[in-house]
């Protein structure tokens, strides 16, 4: 049985349904990211786990204990907020010690634990500082230490990095992951930044309109998006309208080409003549033929951006603008706007989107 279980969780605010039928099982020590656009209910689910909102439906379990109605202060769940929320009247030391004092720990134990936590976030020299004397990044580290100090069973972070600038965001993100691994603490991390979600989590929950659209590893989410929403929300996607030619052989016609799309085989009810939506990631394209199931498309280069390791080419193919990322290898000629270009992809990389 998994450690943190959410079953059919739902939350209504008056008429408005913020979360509906949300199921999730998290293993002990796992790092889960909730990813989704603004207003999709990420914070609401997190707050229900923390006990700040009462679910309208469903069950929350941690270990084999039911938490659904337990008050927040008896759940042993650590929380980190976007706005840091350090107690302004307390020093860093006292902030970190706060939860330990409430737990009734002995003074020397508290001292040892606070030191340990401050060492973990690398801020021992700032023990005497107050929130207004620290940068946002430092404050958020302290908030993390404060949340972790009482050894909570689950750590929740609600967009903890949103208020920080890009460089600190990446550094702190890696720190959070390192500390999470060190302590082996079960963690749920909310973000609307897909790079953040994909880069640090074991599994990603993509949320859409109060539901979990897809739950899977970052690679699964990116390479095998389960719904049209996930496909379009995570990464850049080129979509093509296509017509089914022979469902038995997974044969479709797209941009004047016939190709075999293996993904079509998994769909039950398709008949010849049906229209389907296919999608390709920019990096699925190349300028060299791909091998056995190669498909070539003719296009005209519209724009070219040099991004370092890749060159992003915008091209017009069959009357449609598509984006492709071409690896920047030595000897690759940079395409120029106005040139004709032949783009290749492998039919196996084609994603089939649901309608």
């Amino acid at each position: 049985m998994s450690f943190l279980q959410l079953q059919a969780l739902g939350k209504r605010f008056g008429e408005h349904t913020a979360v509906a039928g949300f199921d999730l099982e998290v293993e002990q020590g796992e790092f889960i990211a909730f990813l989704g656009p603004s207003g999709c209910g990420k914070t609401t689910v997190l707050r229900m786990i923390a006990g700040f909102e009462t679910p309208s439906a469903g069950v929350i379990r941690i270990g084999d204990e039911e938490m659904t109605r337990l008050p927040a202060n008896r759940r042993h769940i650590g929380m980190v907020f976007q706005s840091y929320a350090l107690f302004p009247n307390m020093s860093v030391y006292d902030n970190v010690a706060f939860g330990l004092k409430i737990a009734g720990m002995a003074k020397c134990e508290i001292d040892a634990r606070v030191r340990e936590m401050l060492a973990l976030i690398d801020l021992e020299p700032l023990a005497g500082r107050y929130a207004y004397q620290m940068s946002g990044g430092q404050q958020q580290r302290v908030a993390l230490a404060r949340a972790l100090a009482p050894r909570p069973r689950v750590l929740l972070l609600d967009e903890p990095l949103s208020a920080l600038d890009a460089r600190i965001r990446v550094a702190l993100r890696d720190d959070i992951r390192r500390i999470q691994r060190e302590l082996g603490i079960t963690t749920v991390f909310v973000t609307h930044d897909q790079e953040e979600a994909l880069s640090i989590s074991d599994r990603v929950v993509v949320m859409h309109q109060g539901r979990a659209d897809q739950i899977g590893s970052p690679a699964q989410i990116y390479n095998r998006p389960a719904t049209r929403f996930v496909a379009s929300f995570v990464g850049i996607l080129n979509t093509f309208e296509a017509r089914v030619v022979a469902p038995g052989e997974s044969l479709v016609e797209m941009a004047g080409q016939r190709l075999c799309v293996p993904a079509l085989g998994q769909r039950a009810a398709v008949a010849a003549g049906d229209s389907v939506t296919l999608a390709l990631r920019p990096e699925a394209f190349g300028i060299q033929p791909h091998g056995a199931d190669d498909v070539a498309l003719d296009g005209e280069v519209l724009d070219c951006r040099f991004l370092g390791s890749v060159i992003r080419v915008q091209a017009e193919v069959a009357g449609q603008r598509i984006a492709c990322d071409i690896f920047n290898q030595a000897g690759t000629l940079e395409p120029r706007p106005g040139e004709r270009i032949e783009l290749h992809f492998s039919a196996g990389d084609v994603l089939l989107l649901d309608d």
Partner: protein
Amino acid sequence: MRRRQVERMRRWPLLSWSIVLLAAGYFLLPLYATFQFSLGMQRGELSFAAYHWLFGSDRFLDSLSYSAVASLLAILAGTLLVVPTVYWVRLKLPQARGFVEFASLLPLIIPPIVVVFGYMRLYGDGSWLPLTTSDGRLDLLLVIGYVVLALPYMFRAVDTGMAAIDIVTLTEAAESLGASRWRIVVSVIFPNVRSAIVAGAFLTLSISLGEFVMASLLSRPAFGPYLVQMGQDYAYQPAALAILAFVITWACMALMQFFALRKPGQRVLPRLWAERTTKKEREVS
């Protein structure tokens, strides 16, 4: 046009200065005159005889200390009433804030004389809760009256103080660390609105210290009725009293500023604070 004015001000610093001096004079001259007059008790020479007289008078000291104690009790009761109320309203009933604010302003609209007559009717002899039957009960009624009089100021001060911190998130942070509501109010909310409470407290003090209507109608031996009595009976002593009252008020304002501007962690003596911090920093590293 505004810009022209500003430029003229800049070209004529004399003008702005004279306005300031004029305004200062408007306030300071009467004060100076009162002070001058209060020094004239002994014919033909300037002396502090009137002040001497006051500090030698039992009634002065008694009424002042009576009012001071009543004010302090009113501050205590007001704080215990207002802080949890404002906190709860902001946390759980934000839609009720307008109503609570309106209710807290009522003492400004309803004259104290009406309030005190209301009290006497409501809590008089033979009522369900008689509070006018003994001196101790009348004292209690006076303190309650002061709490009500100071409510608009106390509420405003505390409400502004709470607006400055994100009490909802702080409360949640403390809750997730296991703190009970009571613990949160005591160790997170109170300390963070301390300067607001202090500001409200000094306002309460300056209102209730010289308050006349309630004290005199409840016939309490307070400072306000004493001031009025003195004004009728003596010449020089009231002037000295006015100056003293002024000094007390200004001392309150200065203290209020001091507490309002103090940041957490700053001690009264900065040196001590610095030592404490470095000690702790050294300890941890």
